[in-house]
Symmetry: D2
Subunit: 213 residues, 4 copies
C-alpha cells in the first residue's frame, strides 16, 4: 500500500497520539467461540489471544483499569438486532453458552469490568465510556478480535468518546489476513496509535519506575 | 480475496438485509474539500459524487427523507477532538470555510436534514438517529466519502441504531483504491447490504409504481 | 399549581402528543426491592404495580412489544457509578439478588425485552432505543417506578430518541407523593402525554377493532 | 417536604458527591428568550443569570473549561423533534434569532465551548461528554435554566456519563417556583451535589491557593 500511504501522508493523516496520562486495557471478545477456527476464529486470532496474556499480567501489576467484552444475545431472541440478520451465527453467543465465555487464559478477576454487547463496538449500547470517564481514563489499549470488526469499531468509538486508542498490534487478530492488514492501515491513518505489546509494556513500566523513584 | 470470502461464507457471514419499508438517503461529507484531490479527495471520490446526483433526484421525487453531513469544527478550537490530533487538516473545515460547504451539484433543499459532525459517523454526537426514528425510517441508503472512513462508520452506526444500511456501491468513494475495496468487503460481510445505484432506483421506483396502482 | 399552570399555558407548553402508529409498553423497575416499602418502595408504588397487571395483559393480547427494566450492578463493584455514590443502597441490586428480580405478577414472558441498567433511564447505556427503532416503534407507554426517578428519566430519553412518551398515570408510582405529583406536572408540560390506563386500553382496543373489521 | 425527606433519608439517598479533581462550568440556555418573562423566562431565571456573572469570572480566572448551551432548531423545520410538538414555541429558537443568542452579560469568549442542542440535556445529541472526557473533567458545575427542564436533564446526563454534577443553587432558575423547588429536591436526593455559588468559589479558590503555595 505504499502509494496509498503516500496519498495519506500528502494529506497529513497518520499523526501520533501517544499514550496519555491514564490508560485502561480493553480486551475485545476473546471468548471461546472466537478462539476456535471452526466457529468465529481462525487466522491469527488465537495467537493474538496468547500474546495478550503477558500484557494482561503487566496491566494487573500496574493496577490499570481492565475491561473485557463478550457478545451476549438473549436466548429468546428478544434483543436480536440487524447484525443478527447479517450474521445469524452470532445468536449462538448466549449468556451461558460455552462459545461466549471468556477464554480460560484471560479469565477476568473480581473488579475487572465485563461488558456484554450485541454490536461490534464495546462502547455502543453499554456504559463503558461512562465507567472510563468516571475513572478519568484518557487512553485505551485495545486488544482482541477481530481487527476488522469489533477491534476497529471499539477503537473508533474510543476515539469518538474522547479516549486515545492504542492498538496493540500483536494482540489483535482476525480470521483472515487481508482484512486484518487493511484495517490496521485505516486505524493507523485515521483513528489510533499503533504499538507493539513490548513497546507498550516498556513505556508503561518505565513511567511507573519514574513515579516510584 | 477469494479465500477470505470462503472463510466468511463458511462461518455464515454476509447474509442479505434488503431495503425495509421506509428508506432515507444519507449523503456523507460530499463537501468541496473532499471533492478536491489536493485537499481530502482524490481516487474515485468525485466520480461517486457525480453518480449521486441522479439518485438524489429520484429520492426527492419519491419524497424520501434526505440527510446531508458536513464536518464542521469551531474556528477557536474549542471542540477539537482526538481525531483533530490524528488528522490536523480537519481543523480547516469550519462553518464558513469554502472546503466545508456541500458541493454545488448536491446543494441541500429546504427541509432536508444537514448534520454537522466532528467524527466519522453521521450518528455520533448528533441527533440524526433520533430524527430518523421519529420518522419511522428503517433503512439508510448510504452514499458519500470516504468509503474507508465516514461512510463505513456511518453505515456501522446505522446498523447499531437499528437501521438497515444499504451501501450504494457506485456512490461511495475514497482517496485510495485499496482501502475502498477492503472496506466494501468488510461492509458486505458484516454490516450492510451492497447495491448499485441503478438497482436501488429500480427497486424504489417499482415499489412506488405498485403503491400507485 | 394553578398559577404555575397558567405560566406554562401562556408560554404555549403542554400540547398533546397522542399515541402514534406503533406503541411499545415499557415497565420500569417493578422489581421486588421497589415493591417493598422497607427497601426502595412505599407511597403508591405497589398500587401502581398492581394497576399495571391488566395493562400488561392487554398489551400481550395486542402483540405489542413489551420491555421490562431492572437495575443490576455487578457484585464486585466493577461498574459502580456516580449514582452508586449518591445512593449506595443501589449496590444491593445485583443479578441474582431477590430485590432485583421483577415482581411475580409481572414476570416477563419469553420474547419480551429485559433491560439491565445502572442509571435512571432505560435508554442510557443500553440498546433499547435501537431495539425499538428496528421494530419501528414510535410511541412508548411508560409504567413503573419511581415517577420522580427512573420513570421520568426514561420518558425524557424516549422523547429525545424520537419516541412519543405516554405516561400511564395510574401505573406509575413513587415512594413520596410530593415528588410524584411534581414530576407528573413537569412531564405533562414538557415531555409526555399523560393518560390513564383505561383511556389507553380503550384507545388501543378500539384501534385494533377497526383494523380487524 | 420534611416527611418526604425522611423517607429518602431512611432509604439512604442523598449522600454527598463533592467536587472532584477537575471541574468544568456548564451554563445551560442563558439566552435572551429565557431571560425574558414574556418568552420562556420569568420567575427567578434572570436573577440566576445575574448571579452567574461573578462565577463565570472566577472560573475564567482559574482556567476552568467553560461550556455554554443554546437551543437551536433549523429554520426549515428539518430537525423538528417530539419536543417541538409538545412546546411549539421552541421553533422560534433558530441560529440567528435574537431570542436564541446568549445573553450579553455571559457572552462566550473564544475557546469556550458553545453547544447547540434540541432537547433538554446538554449531552444528548451532542459531543459535549466526549469533549469533557478528553479534557479529563470529572465534575460539572451546573448553572442555567430552567431548573425543572434543561438544568435537571443536563445534571442527570452528567451523572450518567460519569461526571459529578454540582448544582449551583443560586445560579439556576425557573419560570415557576414550584417546579424549581421540587426539582432541586430530586436532584439533591438522587443525582447531584447542591452548593451555593459562594461555597463553590470559596472551595475552588482555596484549592488553587494550596496548589500555588
Amino acid at each position: 500500500m505504499s502509494s496509498d500511504t503516500d496519498i495519506y501522508k500528502h494529506q497529513n493523516f497518520g499523526n501520533h497520539l501517544g499514550i496519555g496520562e491514564k490508560a485502561a486495557l480493553l480486551i475485545v471478545d476473546f471468548v471461546n467461540g472466537f478462539d476456535d477456527p471452526d466457529q468465529f476464529g481462525g487466522g491469527n486470532v488465537s495467537e493474538a489471544c496468547d500474546n495478550t496474556v503477558p500484557l494482561l499480567a503487566v496491566c494487573r501489576d500496574l493496577n490499570l483499569t481492565i475491561a473485557h467484552t463478550r457478545v451476549v444475545l438473549a436466548e429468546d431472541g428478544s434483543d436480536d438486532n440487524i447484525m443478527a440478520i447479517k450474521v445469524p451465527a452470532l445468536k449462538t453467543l448466549t449468556e451461558h453458552a460455552e462459545c461466549s465465555q471468556i477464554v480460560d487464559r484471560l479469565t477476568p478477576r473480581p473488579g475487572e469490568i465485563v461488558v456484554r454487547k450485541r454490536v461490534p463496538s464495546a462502547f455502543f449500547g453499554t456504559d463503558l465510556a461512562a465507567n472510563f470517564t468516571m475513572r478519568r481514563i484518557d487512553s485505551v489499549l485495545v486488544t482482541g478480535c477481530t481487527t476488522s470488526g469489533c477491534v476497529r469499531a471499539s477503537a473508533l468509538d474510543a476515539m469518538c468518546w474522547g479516549f486515545r486508542p492504542i492498538i496493540v498490534t500483536d494482540c489483535v487478530g482476525d480470521r483472515a489476513v487481508g482484512p486484518h492488514e487493511a484495517n490496521l492501515f485505516d486505524l493507523k491513518q485515521k483513528y489510533a496509535e499503533l504499538m507493539t505489546r513490548d513497546e507498550i509494556i516498556s513505556e508503561l513500566t518505565s513511567r511507573q519506575a519514574r513515579t516510584v523513584e
